[in-house]
Symmetry: C2
Subunit: 236 residues, 2 copies
DNA sequence: TACGATTAATTGGTCCAGCCATAGTGAAGC
DNA sequence: GCTTCACTATGGCTGGACCAATTAATCGTA
């Protein structure tokens, strides 16, 4: 009976690391440290916060892994311009802990991405369209599986960016990253033609400012990809 | 645990804490530590990983803040049953760093939640319906602003749960938490009647297995809430 | 024997002090 | 003016120490 009792437990006082994270959060929200600028050195923060350097380092490490800040030996600690990778680790552990299946990830995509494609059709800039076009070219020219998956990712990424919603952008970047990492272990038997065809159709719909078409094509695309993956790897 | 070349390879970018997180991730994915069970003590992990205890603690602290595991003095470190709060901190910092406005959070809700409500109408169990009903009752009986916001959150939470998609469930729990935390600082002038009316309509649509109505009502609900908030707090 | 109190061992929380590796700085030397 | 090199600052990491909370073992008494 490995089942132990960890749930009925009181958490009396906030641990120092959590408090320090709060202090650092304050430094950011008050503008004492602005994006891209440098934090005070660890030894100084420790003195200022009245804590040990090891504790400060714990707090800073949490934020570094999340992508909130980056540390450089001999130089200093810098606040990130934006938290590009902030959802990567969490999504990874979500898959691990909650045993999220590929099916559930695909379902999330199916639920959200068509809507995002529709928004992209309304909002895409000339630059977005160019990025989309380049992603299609890259996919056509791709020689290795890895190249192809990267191009695939770039296409969807461009759509999320064009949708103008940063939360969804970051969320789906993480989800796609997780999915592609598992897909890259598959064979290369998965058809290249069909995804490419759908990408072209989606691109045409976005360029033609046709949200409904974009939505519908994206839906077909994801459904198709899911089915293809299901056939080539039925155990999952 | 066998040492791989990736771990012994000299890689200036990969600091020891990141590698340790990878090792811990392996412990989880291989089933060496299952959800709810206990990790080896820090001192033991340090010896096994060939690292200092302080470094191990940094890695563990990252995972604890993310909600992957929980640590208890005198007892031990336990792997979480599921990562309920794993997206909380990231979303918080997303708002801080990328300066995500309430508008963008509302837009995300507007993009996703109607679809989730539609799914809920298709999949909701009797238990889900009961939870929704109770949330409405709680909101009717609420006396303080805090009570009301909690009941509000519970209603939407029940919908996400009923939608059957855990990723969206966690994502929107985090978003709502962030939004409500900022809304709770508002006055209580915001109307209670209108959200409650929409909740009832959404509930009826879900109970009546009418996805289209659920989608439409949810859309109206969020739009309405956004506009109310905009009026009472125009600066944001 | 049964049960409460005491003691000991375990474990995470925190702190201290030190050394290393790297990056920036500025002086010295050409 | 340029390169070279020592110096300094900073993060990376280690070892050890002690504290506080929890659990398990032990003891004492009714």
């Amino acid at each position: 009976m490995p089942r132990t009792t960890a749930e009925t437990r009181k958490q009396p006082d906030t641990r120092i690391t959590a408090r320090l994270i709060g202090r650092i959060k304050s430094l950011i929200s008050t503008g004492a440290v602005s994006p891209g600028s440098k934090f005070p050195p660890e030894r100084e923060l420790a003195k200022e916060f009245g804590a040990n350097r090891a504790s400060v380092r714990q707090a800073l490490k949490v934020l570094e892994i999340m992508g909130v800040l980056s540390q450089h030996v001999g130089d200093g600690t810098y606040l990130s311009e934006s938290a590009e990778t902030i959802l990567n680790e969490p999504i990874d552990f979500l898959v691990l802990l909650d045993d999220l299946s590929q099916h559930e990830l695909f379902e999330t995509r199916l639920m959200m991405e068509p809507e995002l494609a529709a928004r992209a059709a309304e909002r895409a800039t000339a630059e977005d369209l160019s990025t989309l076009r380049n992603a299609i070219f890259s996919m056509e020219r791709s020689k290795t599986v890895r190249e192809r998956l990267n191009a695939d990712l770039a296409f969807h990424d461009a759509i999320f960016r064009a949708s103008g919603n940063r939360i969804c952008h970051l969320l789906f970047k993480s989800i796609h990253r997780t999915l592609l990492m598992s897909m890259s272990q598959l064979s290369d038997r998965v058809s290249l033609d069909r995804p490419l065809m759908f990408h072209r159709k989606i691109y045409d719909a976005i360029r033609g400012r046709n949200p409904e078409d974009a939505r519908r094509c994206m839906q077909q695309h994801i459904t198709d990809a899911r089915d293809l993956l299901g056939k080539s790897h039925p155990s999952n």
